[in-house]
Symmetry: C2
Subunit: 111 residues, 2 copies
DNA sequence: GATCGTTATATACACGAATACATAACGCCT
DNA sequence: AGGCGTTATGTATTCGTGTATATAACGATC
């Protein structure tokens, strides 16, 4: 069965840094409060998730995720208010794209 | 400088087979009448282009590109009318997506 | 039948990205 | 002081994808 897929992301000087992956990861961090658990939930290696967060915080004007190590629970990850705003906007954009897709079910190549 | 990018493609049972690459390749084949020249114009290896055309013709209900070998000019590649229709539709879709992008310059993460 | 330019096909190699693994650092708690 | 769970960081390995290279097949034209 054929279907039309669309993906959108943000690049900074040609380097991609925000897209579906980071968006989902941030949501899972928010839910779990832990980067390692969020990563394994996505079947993503911890290192990749960590590198991703570094790049995210570095390119954005304000940090999206605060990582803390040590402490009673060993540490944790906190999603900033700024990040929650971005997630909401990205989700909104994806919704609008999905609406555009539905209007485009007439492609000959889809048959 | 940050910018929003969008890409769309068609999948068949999860396998992607039509997107920006194939679309551009078909256009160049139409212009050149040759698969090898079209491929090198895109800085794409001949093998990759050939494999791509095979997959395209196999998944579509009608062939998009007819390859002929031998003959006075050594052979050549011909784009079918069906393919030209698909290219036109895909270009149209990309245009609509570009219009959607312009309305979306308000993302916080873009600042 | 020799030539020519293209398609057809297989194999070896290069490269980048992701994974796997190992180990250190941290700070609250008992 | 020791344990715990998490973050922090480097390195080696794996894996997929594309490239590079070589060679054969084809068929009209001369």
């Amino acid at each position: 069965m054929k279907e039309l897929r669309i993906k959108c992301w943000v690049e900074d000087d040609g380097e991609k840094f925000y897209g579906p992956g980071p968006n989902e990861l941030i949501k899972k961090i928010q839910k779990e409060g832990s980067l390692s658990r969020a990563a394994s939930e996505m079947n993503m290696s911890y290192k990749k998730a960590w590198d991703l967060i570094q790049r995210l915080n570095q390119h954005a004007e304000k940090p999206l995720v605060i990582l803390k190590k040590g402490g009673s629970h060993g540490g944790g990850a906190e999603v900033t208010e700024y990040a929650r705003e971005i997630v909401a906007e990205y989700d909104q954009l994806e919704k609008e794209i999905a609406r555009l897709i539905e209007k485009q079910n007439l492609l000959k190549v889809l048959k």
